[in-house]
C-alpha cells in the first residue's frame, strides 16, 4: 500500500508532523507511519518512578524497588499497547461534496479495522480543529467527517490528518500523520443577497445579455405547489389577495438571459466572481434558463442542477 522510502525521505522532519507524500490509495498505518513519544503525563510518570526509586533506595526496601520496577516495566510495555492502538488500521478518504468559499469543507475519512482487537478512543485531527474521537470494534469500519475551513475558491486539499491515541494509560501518544490525496472544489463565495442583477445598472445590456428584472414579468398566476418561493408575489399576498406566482416569459430564445462575467461591476476579480456566483445561484433557484459566460468559457443556455454546477465549477477554477 505504500512505496519504499529513500533514506533521505525517511529522515525528513516533515514526515513526523505532516506525513508522507499524498497518495490516493487507502493507507495502512504501519510502523513506518506511526510515531510514539511520551505525553506530558508520561513524563510525570517517569518522575513518579524516580521518586519511588529514591524511596526504595533510602529505605533499602526491596518491595518498594519491586513496585518501582513494576511501574517501569508497565511504562515500557505501554509503548507496545499504545502502538497497537493504531497499527494495522487502514484509512482512506472518501468523496466529498463541493462547498462555497468560507464554509467548512466536510471531508469523509474511512477507518477500517481489519484486526481482531478493539481500538478505543482513536483521535483524528486536522491542524487548528478540535479532535474527533471514535471507538472501532474488531473488523469494523467507521466513517468520520472532518471539517476544514475554506477561504479561497478552487481546489481545497484535505490538510494532513493526524490519527493519534493515548490509549491505554495516557502515558504515550502514538500518532500517524497521513496526507490524503483528497481535494474538494470550492466555489466562489456568493455575494450578499439582493445584489443588483445584470443590466439593471446604466452600463446597459449592450453585450447581448438581456436584462431580467423583477418588474419584467409576464403575468400572475395562482400559486401552485412546486412554484419557486422567489416567484411568489408577496405584495399581493400582503394585501390579502391570496398567493400568486409571478410568471415570467420564458421558453423562447428571446426570453433567455446571459450571466456574463463582463456584466459584473467591480475592480476586484474575486468580487466580480462572487457577484456572478450569486446570479447563478439566484437564477438556478428561480428556475430560469440562462447562458453563462466567462472570459474564455461559454456555456449555452440551460437550466437544472447539472447546468448550475458546471457554471460554479467554471468559476471555481477560473
Amino acid at each position: 500500500m505504500s512505496t519504499a522510502l529513500t533514506l533521505k525521505e525517511r529522515f525528513r522532519l516533515r514526515r513526523f508532523l505532516e506525513g508522507e507524500k499524498p497518495i490516493d490509495r487507502p493507507v495502512l498505518l504501519s510502523h513506518r507511519r506511526i510515531f510514539i513519544l511520551p505525553s506530558k503525563t508520561g513524563l510525570g510518570f517517569v518522575l513518579l518512578i524516580a521518586v519511588l526509586l529514591l524511596i526504595a533506595f533510602i529505605y533499602n526496601n526491596n518491595l518498594a524497588y519491586m513496585l518501582t520496577f513494576l511501574l517501569a516495566s508497565i511504562f515500557i510495555l505501554t509503548i507496545l499497547h499504545n502502538f497497537r492502538s493504531l497499527v494495522g488500521l487502514v484509512v482512506s478518504a472518501g468523496k466529498s461534496p463541493a462547498v462555497f468559499a468560507g464554509a467548512d469543507a466536510a471531508f469523509t475519512v474511512y477507518i477500517d479495522n481489519p484486526g481482531e482487537y478493539h481500538r478505543y478512543n482513536l483521535h483524528l485531527r486536522i491542524a487548528g480543529r478540535d479532535a474527533r474521537k471514535t471507538d472501532i470494534g474488531p473488523r469494523q469500519k467507521v466513517r468520520i467527517t472532518l471539517h476544514s475551513g475554506t477561504r479561497q475558491r478552487g481546489w481545497h486539499r484535505l490538510p494532513p490528518v493526524t490519527f493519534y491515541s493515548y490509549f491505554p494509560l495516557g502515558l504515550f501518544r502514538a500518532w500517524a500523520p497521513v496526507n490524503f490525496n483528497a481535494k474538494i472544489l470550492v466555489y466562489p463565495q456568493p455575494a450578499e443577497t439582493g445584489s443588483i442583477w445584470p443590466g439593471s445598472g446604466e452600463s446597459g445590456s449592450d453585450n447581448g445579455s438581456r436584462s431580467q428584472g423583477n418588474d419584467d414579468f409576464h403575468g400572475l398566476q395562482e400559486y401552485q405547489s412546486g412554484d419557486p418561493i422567489r416567484r411568489i408575489h408577496w405584495q399581493a399576498f400582503a394585501k390579502g389577495q391570496g398567493l400568486y406566482s409571478k410568471q415570467y416569459s420564458d421558453g423562447g430564445a428571446s426570453q433567455e438571459i446571459w450571466l456574463d462575467y463582463a456584466a459584473t461591476r467591480s475592480d476586484h476579480n474575486e468580487q466580480r466572481l462572487s457577484q456572478l456566483c450569486r446570479w447563478v445561484i439566484d437564477a438556478d433557484q428561480a428556475g430560469m434558463v440562462f447562458g453563462f459566460r466567462l472570459p474564455g468559457f461559454t456555456l449555452q443556455p440551460g437550466s437544472g442542477p447539472a447546468h448550475c454546477r458546471k457554471c460554479l465549477e467554471a468559476m471555481a477554477l477560473f
Binding site: 510518570f45 513518579l48 524511596i55 519491586m66 513494576l70 517501569a72 510495555l77 478505543y120 490509549f167
Partner: protein, 652 residues
C-alpha cells in the same frame, strides 16, 4: 493531554482505588491524620453527586492549613518514614478535593502510587505485596477509564490486570539485575524502632518467662548439611557474669579477649546460614560454639557473635559451629569475675553446698549432685513462678522450688560460685521447629532460654543446663507455643506424638506456609547488594557495568518478546477463507475453467457448474461457505474448517 471534565464513573473508580491503597495505613499513621484523610475522601465522595459541595479557594486553603497543622502536631517535621507517610496521605486527600480536570486525576494516582510504596516500609509480607499489586491494577484501571470514551469497569480492570501480568517478567529481570547500592548512612532517617521484645542484656527473674508467650520469629537457620539434634540446639546470646543477687548483667570488662586461650573444636561441623529478623541489639545467635564466620561478624570474649552491620534489618550470615570444643585456660580477669558474689553466701546456702559436697568433692561430682537435687527434691518448672522476695535465689531454692529456666540457671551459677567454681549465666535460645519442606529451623521468642556455663579444669567452659534436669522435655522437644499461649502453662510437643488427621494437615500447611515465607524472605526481601553480587557473579556478571549491559539486553529481549505476543497479527478467518477459495479457483483453472476478472463467486459457481455438472454440488457448497465466511455475520471457525475440507476433497 486534553483537559476535559471527568465523568462520575471515573471518579468513583478513583476514589475506591485510593481508599483501598490507604486502608492498610490505618495502623501506621496517627489516628487524627487518618480520620482527616477519611473525612476528605468521604467529602469528595459526596461531592461526586453534589458538585456544589466542593470547597472554594478559601475553604481549600483552610483545609490545607489544617492538614499541615495536623502533621506538625503529630510528627516533628516532615522527614522520616512516619512523617513522610502522613505527608503523602494528607497530600493525597487534599488533591482529591480539588480534582476537577484529567490532569488532577493523574496527579492523584501518582500520589497514590507513592502511598502504596510507603506501605512496604511497614509491612513486607507476601500478602501486602499481593494486595498492593491488586490495588495497582485498580489504579491503572482508573487510567484506562480516563482514556476511554465510554468507561467500563470490568473491561478496564481486566485490561489493567493483563498489562500488570505482562509487566511481571520484566519487573523480575530488573529486580535481579538493577544494581543495588546500599544507601549511605547519612541518608537514614532516625527511626524509633518499636522495642521489639527480645532478650535483654540483663536477666531478672521472670524476664524470660515473658518471652515464653511470644510466637514472634527471631531467626531462621538453614543447614547445608546435617541438622543438630534438639538437645544440641543452643543458640548463644549474651553472657551474664555480674550479679547483685537479683539481677544478672554482662561484664563491663571485655578487654581480656586477647588473653584468651585459642578454643579447639572437635567433631563434625555444622554449616548453616542464619537469617536474623530485625533485632534490637547487635547479637547474632550462633549455634554453640561458633568457629568460622565472616565479616561483618566478630566474636567477643564470651564467644558470642556480634554484627557490625545494621541489625534493625533482616540479615543473613554464614557460620560454622562445632558441638564439641575446649576453650582452654581461664584468664585471671575471667576467674575473678566469674566467682563474683554479692557478699558472702548465707548460712542456708553454705549448708546446701556442703550437703551436695560442693566443698569436698570434684566439681563434676558436685554438679551432678546439684542437678539430682533439682530433679528429685520437689522442684518444678513453670512459666509463671510465684513472685520472689528480696533474696530471690534463697526464696527459689528453699521456699517455692518453682521457676523457669532463668531461676534454675541463676541458682545454679550462684551455688557453683559459692563452692568456688567459676560459672556464668548464658542467655540465648534453645531448640527450634524444623521445617522439613524448607529444610530450615525456625526459632521464635518462645524459645528464649537461659543456661549455665562452668569452667572446669582441662575442659574449659562447659555448658550445663539445669533446666534439663528438671524438665528434660524442654530441651529434648520443642515448646508448643500455641498450647502455651492458650493455657499459660509450659507445654512441649513431642515429635512422635499422634496428631489427629486434621491437626496433621494443619501442621503441614503451617510448615508449607513457613517454607514459602522463608523463601520470600530469603530471595525477595533479603536480596541486597551482597546477595546480588554473590548471585550474579555465579552467573559471570561481576561488576556494575556488566549488570547494566545485561539489564538493557534482557529488557530489550523481553520487550521484543512481548511485542511479538502483543502485536502478532492474529490470522483472520476472512483472509484464510480467501486463501482457501483461491486454492479452489486454481483447481478449477487447471480444468480450463479460470475465474474471469470481476466475476463474482456466485456467477463463477454458476458457470463452472454448467460446465462440470458432476461437481455442481461441491462447487455450490464451497461457494455458499465462502460467502458465509466472507460476508455473513455468524461465520465461525467450524465453517472455515469445513471450507478447507471441501476444497481439499474437490477432484476436478
Amino acid at each position: 493531554m486534553q483537559i476535559s471534565e471527568i465523568n462520575n464513573h471515573v471518579l468513583l473508580f478513583l476514589l475506591a482505588s485510593i481508599g483501598l491503597i490507604a486502608l492498610p495505613h490505618i495502623t501506621h499513621i496517627p489516628a487524627p491524620l487518618f480520620a482527616f484523610f477519611t473525612l476528605l475522601l468521604g467529602w469528595r465522595l459526596l461531592a461526586v453527586w453534589k458538585k456544589t459541595w466542593l470547597p472554594g479557594r478559601v475553604g481549600l486553603f483552610l483545609i490545607t492549613l489544617t492538614g499541615i497543622l495536623l502533621i506538625v502536631s503529630q510528627h516533628q517535621g516532615i522527614l522520616g518514614r512516619d512523617a513522610g507517610t502522613s505527608l503523602f496521605i494528607t497530600a493525597l486527600g487534599l488533591k482529591l478535593l480539588e480534582t476537577k480536570k484529567q490532569r488532577d486525576i493523574y496527579l492523584a494516582i501518582y500520589l497514590a502510587f507513592i502511598v502504596a510504596a510507603t506501605q512496604f516500609l511497614y509491612f513486607q509480607n507476601i500478602f501486602m505485596a499481593a494486595y498492593i499489586i491488586a490495588v495497582s491494577c485498580v489504579l491503572l484501571g482508573t487510567l484506562i477509564c480516563i482514556n476511554s470514551r465510554t468507561p467500563k469497569t470490568f473491561a478496564s480492570l481486566k485490561a489493567a490486570a493483563v498489562i500488570v501480568l505482562q509487566a511481571m517478567p520484566m519487573m523480575m529481570v530488573i529486580f535481579i539485575l538493577f544494581p543495588r547500592v546500599e544507601s549511605p548512612r547519612w541518608m537514614m532517617f532516625d527511626e524509633q524502632h518499636a522495642a521489639s521484645s527480645g532478650l535483654s542484656d540483663s536477666m531478672e527473674p521472670g524476664s524470660i518467662s515473658r518471652l515464653g508467650m511470644s510466637p514472634e520469629l527471631v531467626f531462621r537457620v538453614k543447614f547445608s548439611g546435617a541438622v543438630p539434634p534438639p538437645n544440641q540446639r543452643y543458640w548463644r546470646g549474651p553472657v551474664l557474669t555480674f550479679t547483685d543477687g537479683k539481677r544478672w548483667t554482662q561484664s563491663g570488662n571485655l578487654f581480656y579477649g586477647k588473653f584468651l586461650d585459642r578454643p579447639k573444636f572437635f567433631g563434625a561441623p555444622y554449616r548453616y546460614t542464619l537469617m536474623m529478623e530485625p533485632q534490637a541489639n547487635d547479637w547474632v545467635f550462633a549455634l554453640d560454639m561458633p568457629a568460622d564466620f565472616s565479616m561483618p561478624l566478630r566474636r567477643n570474649a564470651n564467644y558470642q557473635l556480634l554484627t557490625r552491620d545494621r541489625f534493625d534489618q533482616r540479615a543473613e550470615y554464614k557460620i560454622t559451629s562445632y558441638p564439641s570444643y575446649n576453650t582452654g585456660y581461664i584468664t585471671k580477669t575471667e576467674y575473678r569475675e566469674n566467682l563474683q558474689l554479692p557478699g558472702r553466701p548465707s548460712e542456708k546456702i553454705r549448708e546446701l553446698v556442703a550437703r551436695l559436697h560442693g566443698y569436698d568433692q570434684a566439681p563434676e561430682k558436685y554438679i551432678q549432685n546439684l542437678l539430682r537435687h533439682f530433679h528429685q527434691d520437689g522442684f518444678f518448672y513453670t512459666l509463671f513462678p510465684p513472685l520472689m522476695g528480696d533474696k530471690p535465689i534463697e526464696d527459689f531454692l528453699f521456699k517455692y522450688r518453682a521457676g523457669f529456666c532463668g531461676h534454675y540457671a541463676a541458682a545454679f551459677v550462684y551455688l557453683m560460685r559459692s563452692a568456688g567454681i567459676p560459672a556464668r549465666v548464658v542467655n540465648g535460645y534453645q531448640g527450634g521447629v524444623y521445617n522439613a519442606l524448607g529444610n530450615f529451623l525456625e526459632i521464635r521468642q518462645a524459645n528464649a532460654h537461659a543456661w549455665a556455663e562452668v569452667w572446669l579444669q582441662k575442659r574449659g567452659w562447659v555448658r550445663v543446663d539445669p533446666t534439663a534436669a528438671i524438665a528434660p522435655e524442654r530441651v529434648e522437644q520443642d515448646v508448643d507455643i500455641a498450647r502455651q499461649l492458650a493455657t499459660g502453662e509450659v507445654s512441649f510437643t513431642s515429635t512422635g506424638a499422634n496428631y489427629g488427621v486434621l491437626a496433621g494437615w494443619l501442621k503441614q500447611g503451617k510448615f508449607l506456609w513457613n517454607s514459602v515465607d522463608y523463601s520470600w524472605q530469603h530471595w525477595v526481601l533479603n536480596y541486597n547488594s551482597t546477595r546480588q553480587s554473590q548471585f550474579l557473579s555465579a552467573l559471570g556478571i561481576d561488576n556494575v557495568s556488566d549488570m547494566v549491559y545485561w539489564l538493557v539486553a534482557f529488557t530489550g529481549l523481553l520487550t521484543a518478546l512481548l511485542a511479538w505476543v502483543i502485536l502478532r497479527a492474529r490470522t483472520q478467518p476472512v483472509d484464510q477463507a480467501q486463501r482457501v477459495y483461491k486454492r479452489f479457483c486454481r483447481k478449477l483453472a487447471k480444468a480450463a475453467l479460470p475465474r474471469n476478472a470481476g466475476e463474482g463467486p456466485v456467477d463463477f459457481a454458476r458457470r463452472t457448474s454448467t460446465a462440470k455438472p458432476a461437481l455442481a454440488d461441491r462447487i455450490s457448497a464451497i461457494t455458499t461457505l465462502y460467502i458465509k465466511i466472507r460476508y455473513g455475520r455468524s461465520a465461525n471457525d467450524a465453517d472455515l474448517r469445513e471450507l478447507r475440507k471441501q476444497v481439499k476433497a474437490l477432484r476436478v
